[in-house]
Symmetry: C2
Subunit: 377 residues, 2 copies
């Protein structure tokens, strides 16, 4: 079962079971797991490797090699699969067509996702709205309002289901009849925070709850920065509504920048500690957001998808950013190109190419074929 990481984690029953097993190994994160897959070719081969072989891989110490070699005995992946069925949770691997496309573009996409509810293709048109747990009345109000306006325009609202801004964002999307996705920092059978089950149930009915952690995984503090990369990774941009000076939301904003997504921040009173973080973001270049138009404007050509274009105009003929023109110039309808080729021919950075391709795909100007190859649509 030698092959690329993608092929090796394909949804065969045994392959999935082994991958789930590895996903439950204590201390084995996405980066290391990807490195092991590259070296050994498949989850099965990793689990069959000797501890010495495992430790030859950079970053694998003796504690981890022991955990991996014991994994098949100690970890019951079948029970996890049954449990998932019971909780109505789908397990989606990176090889699946159901895997969220925007996540494929980030540096370290999770190899396994647990999804309760449904992730739809249209959810690629997503905006994250995040912020402080200890939010002000003002902040919660604005989060709800912005989420509602964006949801009405067709955006899926992604957040972390924390108290405060996150919950307000989910609620705003739901109240507007829109779709919303919660990315959790714990397993879906052990949702965090406790007491937010009613909101979670509504989110699942009108979108999805997503986690990369095994079903009963506890909400360890170190999960949340990792979780935040998925919040930004699922979206075209992140709106930070309120944030204290040291805040998890600022981590989400940093992820967004690294992933080539837009960063927006809502200002507030300068004597409010929960606006310190958003003011810092604005000073550092985040776009100041008062109204939904501020978001749409920044997304540029994508906004045209959302606003009707006069019939006589060729769609996409106007308002293309230079990077978008560059990519369209090197693509043809008949000759699929890999992202590496596109990067080489356009001179764009990997991040830029990746996010521009996502926008072009959403605009139906570019089509992605199997094996992450692109053609003009």
């Amino acid at each position: 079962m030698k092959g690329s990481g993608d092929k090796s984690v394909q949804g065969t029953a045994a392959g999935l079971e082994d991958l789930l097993t590895l996903n439950m190994v204590e201390g084995l994160g996405v980066t290391l797991l990807s490195r092991l897959l590259e070296r050994f070719g498949s989850p099965e081969a990793i689990l069959a490797a000797s501890r010495r072989e495992l430790e030859e891989v950079e970053g694998v110490g003796s504690a981890l090699s022991r955990n991996i070699s014991k994994a098949r005995k100690q970890i019951d992946a079948r029970a996890q699969m049954k449990s998932a069925e019971k909780f109505a949770v789908k397990i989606i691997t990176a090889a699946s067509d159901d895997y969220p496309k925007p996540l494929r573009r980030i540096f370290d996409p999770p190899l396994v996702l647990y999804v309760k509810g449904e992730y739809k293709e249209e959810d690629a048109l997503a905006m994250a709205i995040v912020g402080s747990r200890r939010a002000s009345y003002y902040g919660k109000n604005q989060a709800e309002r912005l989420a509602g306006s964006l949801a009405k325009m067709g955006f899926t609202i992604v957040s972390g289901m924390a108290w405060g801004i996150d919950s307000a964002a989910h609620r705003g999307a739901l109240a507007a009849g829109g779709r919303t996705i919660a990315v959790l920092g714990s397993g879906l059978a052990n949702p965090y925070p406790k007491g937010n089950e009613k909101l979670l149930a509504e989110i699942v009915e009108n979108g999805a709850a997503i986690s990369e952690f095994p079903l009963n995984f506890p909400p360890r503090p170190e999960n949340f920065p990792r979780r935040n990369r998925l919040i930004s990774g699922l979206c075209l941009g992140v709106v930070v509504v309120e944030a204290a000076e040291r805040s998890g939301s600022l981590i989400t904003a940093r992820w967004a920048m690294e992933q080539g997504r837009e960063v927006f921040a809502v200002p507030g009173p300068i004597d409010s500690t929960t606006s310190r973080g958003t003011h810092r973001l604005i000073k550092d270049g985040a776009k100041l957001v008062e109204r939904v138009e501020d978001v749409i404007e920044e997304l540029g050509p994508l906004a045209e998808v959302l606003t009707p274009v006069p019939q006589e105009e060729k769609p996409g003929a106007r308002g293309l950013k230079p990077e978008e023109e560059k990519i369209l110039e090197v693509l043809s309808p008949s000759e699929p190109k890999s992202i590496e080729d596109i990067i080489a021919e356009t001179g764009l950075t990997a991040q830029a190419a990746s996010s521009v391709l996502m926008v072009l795909e959403l605009r139906k100007l570019v089509k992605q074929l199997a094996g992450k190859r692109f053609v003009k649509a």
Copy 2:
């Protein structure tokens, strides 16, 4: 009495009387008056010119030429001078050493200033704080606080004495024991707004009230945009605290940009109409201000004047901006250079050269000699 504008308006009794007369002619603004001075050489010669000669000057129509030719009969400049004495108002011409230095650098400095109180050399270290008349409690609070902090650092606070933010800024400076200057949009014997006399008296005792309008000139709406160019022109920068979407404060900010001064804006709640204007400014590139440090930081090397420099370091040896280095490179202690020479040799714009020279003068790295010529200090 042929000569440059500067020489021609020198403080001889007759010259001053004629200049005051011209300054009171209906419809004769600074730009046109400067043009007439350039053509005729002196106030006296302008007043003696025929209507036909006057109308040869671009922008002088028949109504204005009539007003000028009748001016000596109809306008009593001596009464104005007596009245000034009675009101304890000094009349300062552009030729006087007491004329505010920062104003010399703007495009259209007033040729006559009425000053009640005292304009000191140290007032060149000034910051304008302006904003809405219909300000919120939040806005007034922030204006007062920022004015107080800046005043304590040695800044003179300049504003327009309007209700709301302006008055709060003056009060903040006064409460901190600092200096403050009100630039009025009416004559000093007819101060606007009515009812603010107590504040005006305090300002005059701890700074100055300044106007370019004759003593009893009414507060016509069209005076205020002109007045605003003096508010920014007296300062290193303008802090807009609160402003509606169409607001006089935004005019002051625009003047500041045109004059090469810094523009700062205080954010606020996005559902507050009085923060619309400041958010617009931030979107357009104004520096977001939460604390006085945000202002100091932006002023760069000037901040070093305000914060103690370790003894062993040569003052000015560090933190110079590239434009400042450029100007210092082309100057020597012995060979005075005009601003035109400096512009030609450095390649800086007139605006940049002018504002950088102002900063360098304040830092005592550059000295201005007679005839607007500069040497290294």
